[in-house]
Symmetry: C2
């Protein structure tokens, strides 16, 4: 990459003036070369780049940010909970941002209430981020949150119950319909549903899609169960479900919970899919490899992350850009955890 990064031993890292001097031009010209300004003679450009190379010069982004007012950084607010989907989205966000020449700064929040989210956003604002991706459900926006998202282009990934930000989302309702219909098509009389925490709009949408599908099909709508996305909560729900012989099909709002449900059923002596069919949601890497392999809805998390970034960038370029929510399509992946009901 560079020929000699550490030329002398002791002194501080080289600045633009050092490069300018070596190349025999002014600092401003160096700046222009490095920012890709069009009107620079090819010859000087080469000289400057050579000097940069020779000194191992690195731009000081703090100085650039201060002087230009642009930080080329996007902030992400995410929940301090470890989950698969979050990790995948984070990757999608980072790579998309990098491709656009932006870096990503993360702020995690432990809770979902407005002050906590506002505080995370405040930390990002201090770093002069140019846009914010809220990878958490925004339940109630307080004045601070509103103010931030008015001042800085903000996109919400989980959807939002407020007006403060743009939205990028998977069509959760359609996805839930897909899952529910798959089970009905197999011949099940009705479908139970283990939903995620109600605070998550995604969870609510899935539940809504499930309910709607059953109603449209004229089927009985069983009571809605709730977990917290964790395998353990799925297990607890499974212990309940497993005791009810009339349950033959369950649509679970996340793969991790689904495996918890399956385990509980297993322990209660009910086989999957022979006795009970299960559909999950997310299509995590393990879905195809645990036993039974899980029928599930694939969510293109990285794509969602990518789009969120694209959305934010568009708004950064043109703050008045329209706020059309984007939507990506879910897909049903049929594996071994679903089957027609026992005769």
């Amino acid at each position: 990459m560079s020929q000699q990064t550490a030329t002398a031993g002791g002194s501080r890292p080289p600045g633009m003036t050092d490069v300018a001097e070596l190349a025999g031009v002014s600092a401003q010209t160096v700046s222009r070369v490095l920012s890709g300004h069009p009107n620079v003679k090819e010859k000087t450009k080469v000289a400057v780049l050579a000097a940069v190379e020779q000194l191992g010069y690195r731009l000081n982004s703090a100085a650039r940010t201060l002087s230009s007012g642009r930080s080329r950084t996007i902030g992400v607010v995410s929940l301090a909970t470890v989950n698969y989907s979050g990790a995948v989205m984070a990757y999608g966000i980072e790579s998309a941002a990098r491709a656009a020449g932006y870096t990503v700064s993360t702020a995690t929040t432990a809770s979902l209430d407005a002050p906590a989210i506002a505080s995370a956003m405040a930390r990002l604002v201090e770093q002069a981020v140019e846009g914010i991706v809220l990878a958490v459900p925004v339940l109630s926006a307080n004045d601070d949150v509103e103010a931030f998202s008015r001042r800085i282009p903000t996109v919400t990934i989980d959807g939002s119950r407020t007006e403060s930000a743009e939205v990028v989302e998977l069509d959760q309702v359609a996805a839930a319909r897909l899952a529910t219909e798959h089970l009905l098509d197999l011949g099940h009389q009705t479908v139970w549903h283990l939903a995620g925490p109600l605070e998550w709009l995604d969870a609510a949408s899935r539940a809504h899609g499930w309910r709607e599908t059953l109603e449209n099909a004229g089927r009985a709508v069983p009571p809605e169960l709730h977990g917290d996305w964790s395998p353990e909560s799925g297990y607890q729900a499974g212990l309940l479900i497993g005791r009810m012989p009339e349950v033959t099909a369950v649509f679970v709002a996340s793969d991790e919970m689904a495996f918890g449900v399956i385990r509980a059923l297993h322990e209660l002596g009910r086989r999957v899919p022979e006795d009970v069919s299960i559909v999950g949601f997310d299509d995590i890497a393990l879905a195809a490899y645990c036993s039974p392999a899980l029928t599930t809805i694939a969510q293109p998390f990285d794509e969602i992350g990518r789009r969120a970034v694209a959305h934010v960038l568009r708004r950064i370029d043109d703050p008045s850009a329209a706020a059309e929510p984007e939507s990506v399509s879910p897909q049903l992946v049929v594996r071994g955890s679903t089957a027609p009901p026992a005769a």
Copy 2:
């Protein structure tokens, strides 16, 4: 939090001088209050904080970084691959850094060769990070990598084959011994091993611990198999292993691969644990809930992240601090995937 973040509508965010004016002091005093400088009268401190509150003032970290030379930021280089352990460590790192008043900036790399890692480090250096956590295995350090880690306190999480950085690691050898001995204690004649990619020092250490344990016990050492951490690669290995009737126990270097192995065995009609016992590594959330529940080695990833940060911070404070590798203890979690060999 703040009373009125957006006082007027249009103007730019308030600066320190605005706060100073409102509080009737100089900008320097405001700076001192906000940096927790000791010699400030209580009364003025209160006045300043009130002004800060009223204006909804936020520090401009670019300016602070430029002027003080300290960015209060730690950089993390991670692999652009989605895996559970990475996500957990990321969380540990972020929370530990935040607790110390630092923010985290991430740079992902798609490959493990020196130029790619150097490039990721370069991006972090541009952001003036004060320390770097390399959450990737450093195979071969080139001059750039060396130069960076000499200039900036750097910690490697996966261990390192170079001398360029400090090390924080789980005692992988002891962990592998734990796993292997567990299987031998159950009565298995020997234990097979599906290792991770050799580039990862962690993977090599686990393989080493496994081999050593077998040799010490005077057992035959079967050929070492390799996967890439993914469930799919475990599945492929499982298809191989499953065809050999003499295999009764396998130690797999990651839980995700372990489930892949189990699935393959399952398809080949070999039961786990009745015919073959499996021990995994990581203790991911699903380990206890898939069937069979996986016996595995628990790695305290968040703790590792925390320690890595602690280590970096120590070196930031005192660049000459000793380079004692830290080590955290692994733990065996026995679940349903292991049993004595069939009679």
